[in-house]
Subunit: 210 residues, 2 copies
């Protein structure tokens, strides 16, 4: 872990954020890192391998930075609130946007795919833990596919960041609509015990067929 290695990793993240996957090269990364261009190949072999390493580097750091906040979430509405914060902070910091760029690159470059999937899985694991806790005493909890929903939420978030880049007003509206939906779902959750029993029996009937 020499200093140059981390400079290159951070330079790669900055370049992906500022110039996108199409504008990212050994030369642009080296310039952002303040480092000689040949060192990209000395330390990482190829540009793609540097991008893969940077992807893991950035995601690990950001997930760790949010671990505390995820740990305090106890309701769907709170999860959405953390999501809004994450959206705003990460857009300034730019690390979710970086993941989106890696994902875009990985569609055509199979070598990037495992790194992109691994980075996304770090986020998914966090969300999964939170969802499991939040849905524990919901009538829907026992029948929901929590790992699947965590994947949905994480993937959807990537789409939000890309949307925000081309239409910030639209993205803000989308975000507030979800926050409102979260608040309303809380009301549904808080129905009386009679309704909860009714729901539960219906769920049992409906799920015996699938």
């Amino acid at each position: 872990m020499t200093d140059t290695r981390t400079r290159l990793l951070d330079g790669a993240l900055a370049t992906l954020r500022d110039k996108g996957i199409a504008g990212t090269s050994a030369r642009t990364i080296a310039a952002a890192a303040g480092v000689n261009q040949a060192l990209v190949f000395y330390h990482f072999g190829t540009v793609d391998e540097l991008l893969a390493a940077a992807c893991a580097h950035g995601a690990t750091a950001r997930v760790a930075a949010y671990a505390d906040r995820f740990a305090t979430v106890t309701s769907l509405a709170e999860l959405l609130q953390v999501g809004v914060e994450l959206h705003e902070e990460e857009r300034a910091e730019g690390n979710v946007v970086v993941l989106a760029q890696i994902l875009a690159g990985a569609q055509a470059e199979p070598k990037l795919a495992p790194a992109a999937a691994a980075a996304l899985n770090l986020w998914i694991a966090e969300i999964e833990t939170v969802l499991h806790r939040v849905l524990a005493d919901s009538p829907l909890g026992p029948v929901l596919d929590v790992p699947g929903l965590a994947r949905s939420v994480s993937a959807a978030f990537i789409g939000f960041e890309l949307y925000d880049g081309v239409d910030p007003d639209g993205a803000a509206r989308a975000m507030s609509a979800l926050a409102q939906l979260g608040a309303l779902l809380t009301l549904v959750e808080d129905l009386g015990p009679t309704t909860r029993r009714l729901l539960r029996s219906r769920i049992r009937k409906a799920t015996t067929g699938s």
Copy 2:
């Protein structure tokens, strides 16, 4: 609308799908179109303008191809079903993936942003119409921000396509979790009139504060 123009538009879409935004250039597009490279600049001025035109071209065609199916949707579960179909067909055809690549490129290239936003807006408009119809007689309908939700759904879909490219199994699980969630929400919607009244009054109380 000469033949060469459309060949270039289709070639651009094919190149974005197969090589991603990072692998898309006047040369690769011309090769895919079976056309001379200089014609890119003769017909469209720059590569970015060709990409912007191709984006509109592709989105218009695909939204039109789905208009019939969107028109028949009458429930949230059906909307999700069409979403699953769209996901599977468009991944083969590749046109939503193309939009994702344009969105990724637009993050760093402002000239692409209006085209990307316009293409996404075509999808959003369709979803908005459907959501409006589907939620019309739901107790939540009157208070939901339908345009905002349509934007959420559309943006989320882009994220799904990118996720599918790096982890098809995870994406499939995410998709089926959503389908299951849709089915369960239908049960909530079908609660008795008493519960619906209760919900409605709670909603009124809760929304007077915002």
